[in-house]
């Protein structure tokens, strides 16, 4: 950390130190800053200021109202009727939305945009923001590589891009009220970039900067997080939350100093705040965090636990206040209230949530088709379950809370139970994990019969490398002396292994509870489970062959990745231009490419204990990462767009490309 330039006045030196310290706190080091800014520049470039799925109309409307100072939806600029706003709920004649925590995050952005609206043009502001991010990125890379000329080049490109944008700027004619959606896009992008930075810090702590960079950049460029990076949906937020919780968990395993205790409390605080966005996901995160944290913490002394408890309690305030204000019950989130267009959400075992016919409170549907979904949040069907329990009388004022507690336990039990049952169905697993195509029983009429559902592997081929885990474990155990039990015992004393265990448990749990909902229409990248994808990427980066490829053959990985983008991009352009693809066909073309790349990287990694060819793994990784990048970029420029880009320059460039649909 710099102590200021010689000859600087003390106040300037102090300011400089504060900035440096703030930067270190947020980004870790120069590498973290590069990861963060790269994520922002890429996502901003592909940003479409629009609704991809129609429940975003609900989120947009709620933001407008919350920014005006009330939770109830009284003004509805993005939809004329309640029926167009899946997810809207009614309480005593008032309408409310959901995901309030996500909306609170966007409010400062909306206020800022409103504040400067009379001063600057919104379209130019977006162009300027991107140019400034590019400037900062060029400067950060110049520092990291010690090549000042890169900063100069970045400055020229940034000014040029802004000038060109000003020449072709048009207003956002497709939106009557663009600023709330812009605010939601901004907050979502910054969340995605935060997740990427957190993964960078976690992995660089374990394996050094190179692996950290690959993981952090990979989060945005090589997983579907990049696809969802600017849409006003919760998936990116959830994904970032899980990475943050795992990274804070890891940081808190290393000692008992103030930093470690704060990191531990921070993990709980993130979960507590998360509950104001999606209580169902937060509850499972909490349920996995508590036992593993307590079992593996360096200390469980009273003082530490007190700090953790207090911080966690405070972090729950946004959820408790929001729920109380809306339903009168601090433990009853909006998702569990009566939907405006009909009855309660039902048990997934009886009728799939989000069934258009069921009229669930949790709905959303594809902008390309229609229909609804709401997440597997089993409902209120059982009514009041605590009436017969004596101590509820003793705790009469807390009765609703206690009642809710048992209700939550019941939901958790049922979700795990149906998730495990679903995990034994091979047909389901095949379509969700391996190959999509035309999947039987998916309600394609809700998406205009377009096959927009990539499987997990098709959307995220890098995840195929994780198939190497069993063979690597077998090879690792057989190589070392001692019993299996000794390995487990010594392994679990290691903070990194503890973090592995936590990440794996968290990822598996959230995957399993969503599995009964899948396959489902309008998922595009199995979006319900996008939140576990960064954890899968963490797992991939932890594998010995992947580490070896990244550390010893970084240049090969970079070169092969660039080659994949170049050759793949040209080939895709020619294909789109000559085959006149419909949107569903374009998505399925990507599916096959993703599947192929996933198989290649899986084979390279699985066979590694035998062949030991790091270079093969390196090429496989680059191919898989590049395939997802191509999907994310093609989606932004051609497949999932209609001239609705945030940047005029990108709109103009995209207009020159062959169309799909």
């Amino acid at each position: 950390m710099s102590d200021g330039e010689p000859g600087e006045r003390p106040s300037v030196a102090t300011l400089r130190r504060t900035v440096e310290r703030g930067r270190a706190g947020l980004f870790g080091d120069a590498g973290g800053l590069v990861v963060f800014l790269t994520a922002v520049v890429v996502l901003w470039g592909l940003w479409r200021v629009d609704f991809l799925l129609n429940d975003s109309a609900t989120v947009g409307n709620v933001l407008v109202n919350v920014a005006d100072g009330h939770l109830a939806v009284t003004e509805s600029p993005y939809a004329l009727t309640a029926g167009e706003q899946p997810g809207l709920v009614a309480v005593d004649g008032q309408f409310y939305g959901r995901n309030y925590g996500q909306i609170y995050l966007a409010v400062p952005f909306l206020w800022s945009l409103d504040a400067v609206a009379g001063l600057v043009d919104l379209r130019l502001l977006l162009a300027a923001g991107w140019s400034l991010a590019l400037l900062a990125l060029a400067r950060a890379v110049a520092r990291l590589r010690d090549r000042p000329v890169l900063a100069d080049a970045g400055a020229v490109i940034a000014v040029g891009a802004f000038a060109a944008s000003a020449l072709v700027a048009t207003d956002m004619g497709w939106l009557q009220r663009p600023r709330p959606l812009v605010a939601l896009g901004l907050s979502t992008m910054l969340l995605a970039a935060t997740g990427a930075t957190a993964l960078y810090r976690l992995l660089s702590w374990i394996h050094g900067r190179r692996v950290g960079m690959a993981g952090g950049l990979g989060l945005v460029l090589a997983t579907p997080v990049g696809f969802w990076g600017s849409f006003p949906k919760r998936h990116v937020l959830s994904a970032t939350v899980l990475v943050l919780v795992v990274a804070l968990f890891a940081a808190s395993r290393t000692g008992t100093d103030r930093r470690a205790v704060l990191a531990r409390a921070g993990a709980y605080a993130v979960v507590g705040l998360f509950a104001s966005v999606h209580a169902f996901e937060a509850v499972f995160t909490f349920a996995v965090l508590v036992p593993l944290d307590v079992l593996t913490a360096p200390t469980n002394d009273r003082r530490t636990l007190a700090v953790v408890l207090v911080v966690f309690a405070v972090s729950l305030v946004p959820m408790l206040v929001t729920n109380t204000a809306i339903s009168g019950n601090p433990m009853k989130p909006p998702r569990k209230l009566v939907g405006v267009d009909g009855g309660l959400s039902l048990d997934p075992a009886e009728a799939p949530i989000g069934d258009a016919g069921a009229g669930s409170a949790g709905g959303e549907s594809s902008g390309t088709g229609g229909g609804t979904d709401g997440g597997p949040t089993p409902g209120d069907g059982s009514g009041q379950s605590g009436d017969g329990i004596p101590f509820v009388w003793v705790l009469a004022p807390l009765a609703p809370v206690v009642d809710r507690f048992f209700w939550i336990l019941e939901i958790m039990f049922r979700s795990i139970e149906s998730g495990l049952a679903a995990a034994t169905e091979l047909d389901r697993l095949y379509h969700v994990m391996v190959r999509s195509g035309w999947v039987p029983d998916v309600r394609y009429h809700l998406t205009a019969y377009e096959t927009l559902e990539l499987s997990f592997l098709e959307a995220f081929p890098l995840s195929g490398a994780l198939l190497a885990l069993p063979s690597l474990l077998v090879a690792g155990v057989s190589r070392r002396a001692g019993s299996l039990r000794d390995h487990l015992r010594s392994g679990l004393a290691d903070p990194v292994r503890q973090t592995d265990l936590f990440a794996a448990s968290l990822g598996l749990t959230l995957f399993v509870v969503y599995l009964p909902e899948l396959p489902l229409f309008a998922m595009i990248t199995q979006r319900y489970v996008v939140l576990v994808m960064p954890l899968v990427l963490y797992g991939v980066c932890r594998l010995a062959p992947v580490r070896a490829a990244l550390t010893d053959h970084g240049r090969l990985v970079g070169g092969a990745y660039a080659g994949t983008l170049l050759v793949g991009g040209l080939a895709l352009g020619v294909t789109f231009a000559t085959l006149d693809l419909a949107r569903g066909e374009a998505v399925q073309l990507h599916a096959l490419l993703g599947l192929g790349a996933g198989v290649v990287v899986a084979l390279a990694a699985v066979g590694w204990p035998l062949h030991r060819r790091d270079r093969a793994v390196a090429v496989g990784l680059a191919l898989a990462a590049g395939t997802t990048t191509l999907f994310v970029v093609a989606s932004g420029l051609v497949v999932f767009t209609d001239g609705n880009h945030a940047l005029d320059l990108v709109r103009v460039v995209a207009g020159l490309l062959p169309t799909v649909g």
């Binding site: 130019l124 207003d171 066909e585 399925q588």
Partner: protein, 171 residues
């Protein structure tokens, strides 16, 4: 010669200055206004001809890359536009009332004279055995479609072409 840090600062200052100087209403409005234009249809050629209603049959092609749906692909509309006044838009649609198909419409602002090309979205038709509650795949056969091309603005609309075509669902 500026060093890396300085060039970034200068560039940032330039951008922010330009942002403020250009003001709050710089971007070109895209809203539809009043106006008219003359349109000469180049393709599809049958739009201009006086042939019978089922002569020009659009048929569905099997979907590729594992999409079991088939696709109804409408021909692109290519027109020459002249005598543009104000800011009108060109409207192109294919409607098949019996099938509840949604191909568009597409609307394009006419910013000046020249050649314009409008493409309707490909429409997916489900496989014959698709069924969900009361939703069923359409029977094979030839259905009547209506193609509409017009120039429209707030001051009125001029129909360029409006005729029926045959749309074949093949199984």
């Amino acid at each position: 010669m500026l060093d890396g840090a300085d060039s970034s600062v200068v560039a940032a200052a330039l951008i922010l200055l330009a942002l403020v100087v250009l003001g709050p209403s710089w971007a070109t409005p895209t809203a539809l206004g009043d106006g008219t234009a003359e349109v000469d249809v180049l393709a599809p050629t049958w739009l201009d001809s006086g042939e019978g209603p089922t002569d020009h049959v659009l048929r569905d092609d099997p979907g590729r890359f594992g999409t079991d749906a088939s696709y109804l692909r409408s021909p692109p509309l290519v027109v020459d536009v002249s005598n543009v006044s104000g800011s009108p838009e060109l409207y192109y649609d294919l409607d098949v009332p019996a099938l509840d198909l949604d191909t568009g419409p597409v609307e394009r602002r006419l910013s000046g004279p020249g050649r314009y090309r409008l493409e309707l979205a490909d429409v997916a038709v489900p496989p014959a055995d698709y069924r969900y509650r009361d939703v069923e795949a359409p029977d094979s056969g030839v259905y009547t479609g209506i193609v509409t091309v017009r120039v429209q603005s707030f001051s009125g609309q001029t129909v360029v072409a409006n005729r029926t075509v045959g749309v074949r669902i093949a199984r």
